[in-house]
Symmetry: C2
Subunit: 212 residues, 2 copies
DNA sequence: GCATCCATGTAACCAGTTACATGATTTG
DNA sequence: CAAATCATGTAACTGGTTACATGGATGC
């Protein structure tokens, strides 16, 4: 999961760890962010696997001025460039400065693998995959959505079967709260299914005017 | 989480591990069941803490004939009672038979603690708490629901603030899928909130005709 | 008497967390 | 220069998972 998120973000711009966490909170919502304690080891692991690599990052500006409290960060960047003029940038890595990562070709492949993985049963993972599904081509994207749709349909069927399987008196014996919970869960599933249907529909009709 | 589920189930009838897992799948849906690998250690832990204890279970019949494939289990029970007549039941525990657990007074208190815990931020835990909230008195239940409602309202506010905080062009630069995801998440939150409102409403109006 | 299901448990692992340690940079 | 914030990292722990080992009971 974390690999997917990291590679997905790095696919667009080079970033350092601290920034990655902020972007992640921004994109996925603060609810599903990851902690530094898993972020940095994950980056190290990806680097060891050759899927990302530390880069010098002297050319392009800070590419993600999107969200809060980046003022200090901007200033930091400026100062680094300024000092870079007298050669300091060259050993940024060594002096425990920011470690800016970029994605490699292997990382690109890995990201693609993660995105096209046929297993769509994990809810959290699926969410992240949607977040980065722009990196898929239209056909692959459609497959992803349809697989997920099938998974949700299966879950609904399962629930309906259970309900029908319950003897009637048994069903009524179910406590109010359990019943309410059960119904709400079913509703939520339908809600998700409807959303997927909209996504699929958009994908189908929109596939004419690709590009731009 | 697992403690809550186990104590909640045992609060109603004595059960052995294997059966607990089945009941859990039945009540919480097969999606959020726990594996044996965490179930048995958890039971052992609860037993060590004096919150559940192994019982002989010779008096009452199998109290949960609710769901599938209990035929064999019934038969097993019968045979055990039959043999019990010639004294075998006494050392069921030693011979690696079923180990039937019951809740203790400490366990009862612990369950209550878990149910009234003011932290309602964890989604999975909250679900399980609703599943067993019949063990709370009406006022405590209402508090639980209202706390959760406030939590969800807070999350929605947070999201709205973020949206407003985004510069307009920045917002439009958001990719279709990210936007769709974002909107769907917001919808889901509202959906959950509406459900809670219904629960709270039922709780308020229903509190006149208490008991049964 | 052999396959199958019921039943309990252990060990290794996994993906994440919190808390802590460290240090660089900015800002008042 | 002190306080706050940016930034990277480690260690211990948590709450689960899968895979495995074992064995009793039932059904054919």
């Amino acid at each position: 999961l974390i690999d997917l998120a990291l590679l997905g973000l790095l696919r667009e711009h080079e970033l350092h760890g601290y920034e990655l966490k902020k972007r992640l909170a921004d994109v996925l919502g603060p609810r599903s962010t990851v902690s530094f304690g898993s972020l940095y080891p994950a980056l190290a692991r990806l680097e060891a696997a050759g899927e990302v690599k530390a880069v010098e990052h002297r050319t392009s500006g800070p590419v993600a001025p999107s969200s809060g409290s980046l003022k200090g960060e901007l200033a930091a960047f400026r100062s680094r460039v300024r000092q870079g003029r007298d050669g300091w940038v060259e050993n940024v890595r060594g002096t425990r400065g920011k470690k800016v990562y970029g994605i490699t070709e292997r990382g690109d492949e890995r990201l693609h693998e993660l995105l096209v993985d046929p297993d769509v049963s994990d809810d959290r993972t699926f969410t992240v995959r949607v977040a980065f599904c722009r990196h898929l081509d239209p056909a692959e994207r459609l497959t992803l959505f349809e697989r997920r749709r099938a998974e949700l349909a299966r879950r609904i069927d399962e629930r309906v079967a259970t309900t029908n399987g319950r003897a009637r008196d048994d069903r009524s014996r179910l406590d109010t709260y359990l019943r309410s919970l059960w119904e709400h869960d079913t509703d939520t599933l339908s809600h998700d299914l409807a959303w997927l249907d909209r996504l699929i529909d958009q994908e189908r009709t929109g596939s004419q005017e690709t590009s731009s």
